[in-house]
Subunit: 395 residues, 2 copies
């Protein structure tokens, strides 16, 4: 076990412990962020259609990018030549790169709903692109030009270090749902061995997160979490959720996985999700989240409000002068854009419609976890959660 | 001849007269603007992909919209129910609506290059959509749903008044290029008769502009300009340019048309254009311009700079850390976005790439005419124009 610790990263738990709602604060070389934290997905080093200013005005603290996508385009050396991710994107705040494990998997299979990164137009890839996973790593063909690539744990760490995000993820092997015990065990064990190799290759400056896999098998999840905990990562992630397992299995997995992780390190539940999924994870002791829902649904005109979801393309909004959500401080609502105008933009195929809805949705999710944080700090999380989810038909 | 004068509109000429470069200032109910003025095209009540904040940061003073497009979607009564164009778009500055004469024409024929509004995806319309022009008005089918519509001069004025822009255009009959004398005479005479009907139907609050047609026939252009001048409009436009006539004919038309218009009213050269076209018109005494070039070319990654045009998709920009144009204060350059990052966004199909290029290009054109204005005010326009156009291969 290496002694290296990410020099620029720290995490402080303010309230809570291992298996109940917590509030904390993380610090990075590019600024701090409060937890629970909902991060914006920026797969190709941009949150779709949004400028960094618009992201900030939407309450976003952390921006994600995807090492797989950026390795293929524009290439890690181009990102490095442009000053690294933060300098390149002009995002003046913490960033996190996902490793690409999920993308290598989803490219071969078509991305699942609620997937943790924007698989979007990749969903109809031919099966011949399915990756070849060996102990060495994942061999796959680029979805852009068919060129062959090999992602090894060591190579991915070097890639992510060149990209230069504050937080980066180990290479993991993802799993279809449902997966039987033997298949899940193979994947969980390989992911742990790959995490060891990532840990050994890691230079220690950017905070490295280990990823727990193991499907919906308690024994495998707990075993994985314990092995990763022994490796002493700056942070931990739970992968392989939001792949169709349903709310009950989702909750169960978090119930037995999160307590097996170190109390004093941030826990990131990847690719999650709907408001109820996020708050369930917060309730069970998770700290970080990301999902394409705010931007993907926003582009389609679906907006989240404290009163529930609205489909702004609906004809009933045609002459609605109200803003998307009364009292919201997002760029769309604070800017005074009416539902009727946003509907017109969406109907006319004008990009600004999706931009406004995306900004609003990001603000909805950053406010949701911000409100959750306040409730945790004030010891009233359970009651708050129930009322927050009432319009969403679950609690 | 009616006595009504637009109550909320005024124009003051500061330097210049009828047939040489001028500088002025116009005032509207929604703020003033300096002339020469390059206006942003916002056909569907939005400058493609740009928020009002981004427009303002690009130096835009006046936003256009198109009565034809808005009549079909979302409909004039919807715009009115949403508070009118300014309230609906949240553009806190002067607006101008084009009448739709050009759109009715271009829908039937496919939009020409440099067309005065964004005909974009309409270029491949079947010829069966060609409008039927009669003395009564233009009968045409919607490009959206095939429904039949009749635009009369009176109906268009009522439509534009309901939309509520500060400035609005008469209905005109556009013309293919080249057009013989008889055909051009018929169109010019009808456009003048329609202008009389528009003038009579006009309530007088929004500033109404008459449009000079007449192809490339001096006699018709001068006759049209004089007839319109007799009707005493708050402003005048020259239509039917940038339809393939080439720079020499373009200059000639302006040379004999502009001096036939009242000296003390703004002159708007519609749908123009390349930097050299705009500055030629300024040189000959024009005050207002609009063109899709900044946004349409911007979406394709072509940017205008004082040193010439750049195609940012070009591989040589892949690792270029410079901003699009050193010293530019547009949202893209002032935001520090590198050419390399913008190229990545464009290559990856990320909308923000086109947004940044569009904002930069709008700033280029608003700065170009702003610099022209300063040169006029300081009596050094001719020399300034020559050096400004040097990188564009003409002067």
């Amino acid at each position: 076990m290496s002694e290296a610790i990410a020099s620029d990263f720290s995490f402080k738990l303010l309230v809570g412990s291992g298996n109940a709602a917590r509030a904390g604060r993380a610090s990075t070389a590019h600024g701090a962020f409060d937890t629970p934290c909902f991060m914006a997905v920026g797969t190709q080093a941009v949150a779709k259609s949004l400028s960094p200013d618009q992201l900030r005005a939407s309450g976003v603290q952390v921006l994600l990018a995807n090492a797989y996508h950026l390795a293929l385009r524009p290439g890690a050396e181009a990102v490095a030549a442009l000053g690294g991710l933060q300098e390149m994107t002009r995002w003046r705040g913490p960033m996190l790169t996902d490793s690409g494990g999920f993308q290598i998997w989803s490219l071969g299979r078509g991305a699942a709903n609620g997937a943790r990164e924007d698989g979007g137009r990749l969903a109809s890839r031919p099966v011949s692109l399915a990756p070849a996973i060996t102990e060495e790593g994942a061999r796959f063909r680029s979805h852009l030009d068919g060129s062959e690539h090999l992602f090894t744990p060591e190579g991915v760490i070097s890639l992510e270090e060149r990209l230069g995000a504050d937080m980066m993820m180990c290479l993991d092997e993802c799993l279809e749902y449902p997966a039987g015990f033997d298949r899940a065990r193979q994947s969980a064990e390989r992911t742990v061995r790959w995490a060891q190799r990532c840990r050994a290759a890691w230079k220690g400056r950017n905070a490295l997160f280990g990823i727990v896999q193991g499907g919906s098998h308690r024994q495998l999840r707990v075993w994985s979490a314990e092995r990763l905990a022994e490796m002493d990562f700056p942070g931990y992630a739970v992968g392989g959720l939001s792949v169709g397992e349903g709310p009950q299995v989702y909750r169960e997995v978090l119930e037995y996985t999160l307590p097996a992780l170190p109390v004093d390190k941030p826990r990131y539940v990847m690719g999650v999700g709907e408001p109820e999924d996020v708050l369930t994870a917060v309730e069970l002791g998770a700290d970080m989240f990301d999902c394409v829902l705010p931007t993907r649904n926003g582009r389609r005109g679906q907006v989240f409000t404290r009163g529930g979801k609205l489909r702004l393309k609906n004809a009933r909004f045609r002459t609605d002068r109200a803003v998307i959500e009364e009292g919201c401080d997002c760029p769309a609502c604070a800017g005074g854009f009416s539902r009727g105008y946003v509907r017109h933009l969406l109907a006319a195929g004008e990009v600004l419609g999706g931009t406004l809805c995306s900004a609003h949705n990001l603000r909805f999710f950053t406010r949701l976890v911000g409100d959750a944080r306040s409730a945790v700090l004030e010891g009233r999380f359970t009651g708050w959660k129930r009322s927050a989810l009432e319009p969403y038909g679950s609690a």
